[in-house]
Symmetry: C2
Subunit: 170 residues, 2 copies
Amino acid sequence: MERQPRSGCPINLTLELLGDRWSLIVLRDVMFGNRRHFRELLGGSEEGIASNVLADRLRRLVEAGLLTRRDDPSHKQKGIYSLTEPSIQLVPLLAAMGAWGRRHTPASEELSVRAELLEGGGQAMWEAFMQELRSLHLGAPAPTRSVTSELRAAFEAAKAKKGMTEAATG
Amino acid sequence: MERQPRSGCPINLTLELLGDRWSLIVLRDVMFGNRRHFRELLGGSEEGIASNVLADRLRRLVEAGLLTRRDDPSHKQKGIYSLTEPSIQLVPLLAAMGAWGRRHTPASEELSVRAELLEGGGQAMWEAFMQELRSLHLGAPAPTRSVTSELRAAFEAAKAKKGMTEAATG
DNA sequence: AAATCCGATTGCATGTTGCAACCAGTTGGT
DNA sequence: ACCAACTGGTTGCAACATGCAATCGGATTT
């Protein structure tokens, strides 16, 4: 019952999978925010996704092989969502989106720090991040470098700086 | 009357601009297919965009500063659409999309050749391509390297090869 | 036993999309 | 001068997708 794609162009097919307003937001939160449960994804991000839309996107992403869902042993109703190798390989795409958005949209400085760091780190940093995601989501051996920590540190520093500026001007 | 963004995250803002099924298809055809007129964009691509949707996307993209429109001196009704510096800087994003789609979607081999070449060429090739686009769309001096020609040659070779295979197996 | 948390589902209003028909102005051929 | 083809759209309509608030029954916590 699944309809056929509009064309075999790789850009088009990627767009048919991810070209909507929420799918990449969900993957972003799983990837960069390490949100793994429904409720974390529902309330965690600033964009405010509706619960029915989130349920629909999670179902679609699992169906497309970009997420897997397993039961949470600590809570019979909870599910834990994990990235897969294909969605981990979206790191360069999300990095490119962040880099473009930082330059060409009115992105907030605070939220742009991580995009800037990830852009500057280049392919070496993306690879390290992907290795770390494989460790977190697929059970691969943990790498030595923690890009997650680097990103968090940069974000915290930006928040602290912003707080200082506000205190000084406020 | 324009509503405010859902958040200041650069990924989210990029998604709010380009996160639909057609905007990037239109930009892809202008960028890689050098389609500059309404009718070329309407009939040229395989995906078959509807005229009202195309009109809407062109209007939005011009409004967002990703395209400009000027009158065609050879025909009083025709408009010529050109890329802008922001949309030219989408080259790395489209390259990443093509690279991902080539690996993780059932993209046709024929249409994947250009994505593969663009991925392998790396940042140096993207820069050369962007310089060429600046020459074609913004009147910048023409660069020596023509990535457009390289992409076209690779595509034609793939088509020829496909034709041979079909002749041999058919 | 009561309150809260969990991942959804339902109903409804609104927005987006696909599709075909249609439009008036422009152009080139005869 | 005439006409057919072409230009960049617009209109109407049906189907589908999305956003939002309220709600659900089961599981867990207090």
